[in-house]
Symmetry: C2
Subunit: 241 residues, 2 copies
DNA sequence: GAGCTTAATTTTGTATACATTATTCTGTAA
DNA sequence: TTACAGAATAATGTATACAAAATTAAGCTC
């Protein structure tokens, strides 16, 4: 049966257990290092959404005591990557279909602003870089290499945020991404949607060359709206669970 | 001498010290309660930007041990309200003029999206509520009551985010506000700017009545841009430090 | 007194111990 | 078997103890 929007995408619920092949962590400011490692593992799906984080297991896996581990978990909870329940510990945050679609609206607003700011500021050198990424992206598309395509696609969007030169804006994007990034490891684009995305990227280059902020902002908002619709369709296609 | 954009608004640097008149904290899930209290104190300016958070002092003030206090500080650091330096503890985050202006750009993007989403969704009952807040706001303006004006102004903007019905969007706004809220306790609006703000609010009501999302979004982006310019002027006017 | 070196103190970072709350297991009754 | 009660276990929550780093103070030279 199909998942309702209010249902979770965490299809399985796993106890953490002892995790193998974990690099040891150097002493001092442990909690920051643990935060990075746990975030990486959560984003990469090594720890499933909804999985409970058992302090003891994680401590043994990382070979640290509970003090820095708890500090790390609290920090991740403040970021929204983990959910705390009093006296019942922490779970990896789950995300509903509705929340995924919500997040694309927010990312659209952020990318739109990034575009508005970036276009008037871009230097010739930066423009060359973006053009080069764009060319590489087209090559990956021609080779039907979706993973490669995504890498360059991501580079272009990252570059726009860099050029926009607004630290808070980048930070907000990072936070939103943190909560939806797992999806990018599974969602595949359809061919016709891919064509549209390419076309929108062409328009972005034109707007950048024209240093037209409002125009680039509008294109990016439209681009993210396309992605949102694409994800919505992909979720529709998913077979159940 | 004037502060350069890269200089901090934290004009004084205070050691925490024992804080008096602190309500005791009930046991269990202490760190969450401490987070709330510390956040409140930081936002209200009871602990100055740049002030170092001495664990021992804070623990004595709140009558808790270092464990939950450290967890709380780590959580606040993840929110960006506090800055950690390895082996040197935590300071209340400072904010530069440039960062303040950056934050208004981001808030503008978020409010713009909120407007786009809210206008097509608003019910007659909700519209009546907003109209009522708007009327109250106008009254406070007529009475030259700036504090009262800000309360209703805030209510209207909150209402638009509520009607937009996007949890992540609200969360992002909360995070951005957390980092700039201290400013709202000091920045005063000039009379002509006040007039402009009122006019923009009138337009917002019209767009809401027309259920015109793009229009409301545009107005809100412009409204926040006005605020940004207003804050920039206010910062210019500040006598030095 | 200024500037440096070094010891004393303070503060942060980590590990462990104890208290409290959840969860699981076991045995019994229907 | 199912349902429940209560004990046993395990997990989280908090406090304290110890280690390492940073800061401050003291002493010394010039």
């Amino acid at each position: 049966m199909r998942l309702k929007p209010e249902h979770h995408l965490a299809f399985f619920y796993a106890r953490t257990g002892f995790l193998h092949n974990i690099k040891p962590i150097e002493r001092q400011t442990l909690h920051l290092k643990i935060v990075d490692r746990l975030r990486e593992m959560i984003e990469h799906g090594d720890i499933a959404p909804g999985a409970k984080l058992i302090e003891k297991d994680l401590c043994e896996s990382f070979a640290v005591s509970r003090t820095p581990m708890r500090e790390a978990i609290r920090a991740l909870a403040a970021e929204g990557l983990v959910v705390l329940t009093p006296n019942r510990g922490a779970c990896v945050a789950t995300i509903t279909e509705a929340q995924i679609l919500e997040s694309f609206l927010v990312i659209g607003a952020l990318e739109g602003l990034a575009g508005e700011l970036a276009a008037p500021r871009i230097t010739e050198a930066q423009l060359d870089d973006v053009r080069s990424m764009h060319t590489s992206m087209l090559e990956r598309h021609a080779a039907n290499d979706l993973d490669g395509y995504y890498i360059y696609n991501r580079q272009i969007h990252d570059a726009i945020f860099e050029i926009a030169d607004n630290e808070l804006l980048k930070e907000m994007r990072r936070i939103v991404f943190n909560r939806t990034i797992r999806l990018r490891f599974i969602a595949r684009i359809a061919d016709d949607e891919w064509q549209v995305a390419i076309k929108e990227h062409e328009e972005m280059i034109v707007a950048l060359e024209a240093r037209d902020g409002p125009q680039l902002g509008a294109i990016l908002r439209r681009h993210l709206e396309s992605k949102r619709v694409q994800i919505a369709r992909w979720l529709q296609r998913q077979p159940s669970a």
